[in-house]
């Protein structure tokens, strides 16, 4: 069976990608933020995962309201990034894989998840910024990525409990795969922020810290929220917590988890930016 080594949750805001492009990592605004990443990069370097399953949301590059999936999963050999319209540099194509993708798809359909399957899809900063953060200098070509997009852009959105169950089913699918690949899961986005409305700029640090605390061993406290409550507590874009919950769901049947890293910076762009690493017993 394929092995889940652990899960990583990280911010994905475009400003991070722009800062890396411009080499601003050591400037006062960014230094503390970027200093949090080397321990997580070192862990990835040591663990040598073969595949990364990345829960993210598409912000209007691949999907528009003409056909907006609730859950979409990629099954392609390659994923291209592209112009998102506001100046973030395009990055080289992301390596995909199809065998585990289709295995997961079969498992999800068998368990009544009604996914959209993408044999060709463009991936946006929700996926590419975290990749660039984990493997700077675009050195991510060796890792096979399975993109999993969750609707966080238009209500109604899948419930936190559904996102968690979705992740859990994907974790079960990985464990039932006949290969011996090493797999990490990632949840990208968040934490609290609101871009739109007179409430723009809203951040809720206590709630963010609560979420990072509870996601380790009591995720059920977070999955009970409605999306409405998440908007209320964490801002309109705070629903991106759903990707963290899907990541955590994938680890649910792995037994005890070790939290190897946790950090939080505020503000990074308009957000509370969290980074967290949870390792399973499969990790070295």
């Amino acid at each position: 069976m394929a092995n889940l080594l652990g899960g990583i949750a990280t911010s994905h805001i475009p400003a991070i990608g722009v800062a890396m492009d411009k080499g601003l990592e050591e400037t006062p605004y960014w230094k503390d933020f970027f200093d949090a990443y080397p321990p997580v990069r070192d862990w990835l370097y040591t663990q040598e995962p073969d595949i990364a399953i990345i829960f993210y949301n598409d912000h209007g590059l691949e999907f528009f309201h003409d056909r907006k999936p609730t859950f979409a999963i990629g099954a392609s050999e390659l994923y291209e990034n592209a112009d998102e319209g506001w100046g973030i540099a395009e990055i080289p194509p992301v390596t995909g894989e199809t065998e585990l993708s289709w295995h997961i798809v079969n498992h999800l359909i068998e368990h009544d998840f009604d996914i959209t399957v993408c044999q060709e899809m463009k991936v946006d900063h929700g996926l590419t910024v975290p990749l660039t953060l984990m493997w700077p200098g675009h050195k991510y070509g060796h890792i096979k990525v399975i993109p999993v997009a969750i609707n966080c852009e238009r209500h109604p959105m899948p419930k936190p409990s559904r996102c968690y169950a979705f992740g859990k089913a994907i974790g079960d699918a990985v464990r039932s795969f006949s290969g011996d690949q090493k797999v990490v899961v990632m949840g990208t986005g968040g934490l609290s922020h609101q871009l739109d409305g007179q409430r723009a700029g809203y951040i809720n640090k206590p709630f963010d810290l609560y979420c990072m605390d509870k996601i380790v061993n009591e995720p059920e406290l977070l999955t009970q929220f409605t999306n409405y409550e998440l908007v209320e507590k964490a801002g309109a874009q705070g629903v991106e917590l759903n990707m963290w919950l899907a990541m955590r769901g994938a680890l649910e049947n792995e037994g005890s988890l070790k939290e190897l890293h946790r950090s939080y910076h505020l503000p990074i762009s308009n957000t509370g930016a969290g980074l967290q690493l949870l390792a399973t017993n499969n990790a070295r």
């Binding site: 528009f64 319209g85 506001w86 209500h155 109604p156 871009l195 409305g197 409430r199 209320e232 503000p267």
Partner: protein, 115 residues
């Protein structure tokens, strides 16, 4: 979502709002393409017509009234691509919506870390 009451300063982009905002959002989605951005810059009014924006949407666009765009069904994810054309970042847009200067808005963000 409306049945759950409303959150001050927050316009939920739910289904009916997405119906209302469809032409505006479709126009802004087109801004992923550089050629579309150029076409828009060349003749804004013609571009509004091309996507059949409502009068309310045109007015909000003409006046660069972000709150008006949201009230007309705009999605911040697509409007952000329009902001890109204007060279505005998310802090600029935050300032525009809250009546602050960009610097005031940035200070407001920092202050929320002091909890």
């Amino acid at each position: 979502m409306a049945s759950q009451g409303s959150i001050p300063g927050t316009i939920m982009l739910d289904g009916p709002m997405a119906t209302k905002g469809y032409p505006l959002n479709k126009m802004c989605y087109s801004f992923n393409n550089a050629s579309a951005r150029d076409e828009f810059r060349t003749d804004e009014e013609a571009y509004y017509e091309k996507f059949k924006l409502t009068e309310e949407q045109k007015q909000a666009m003409r006046q660069r009234d972000v709150i008006g765009m949201l009230e007309a069904g705009g999605s911040i994810y697509y409007l952000a691509k329009f902001a890109g054309i204007l060279g505005l970042n998310v802090q600029d847009v935050g300032g525009l919506q809250t009546g602050m200067t960009t610097d005031e808005f940035k200070a407001f963000l920092v202050k929320q870390g002091e909890v």
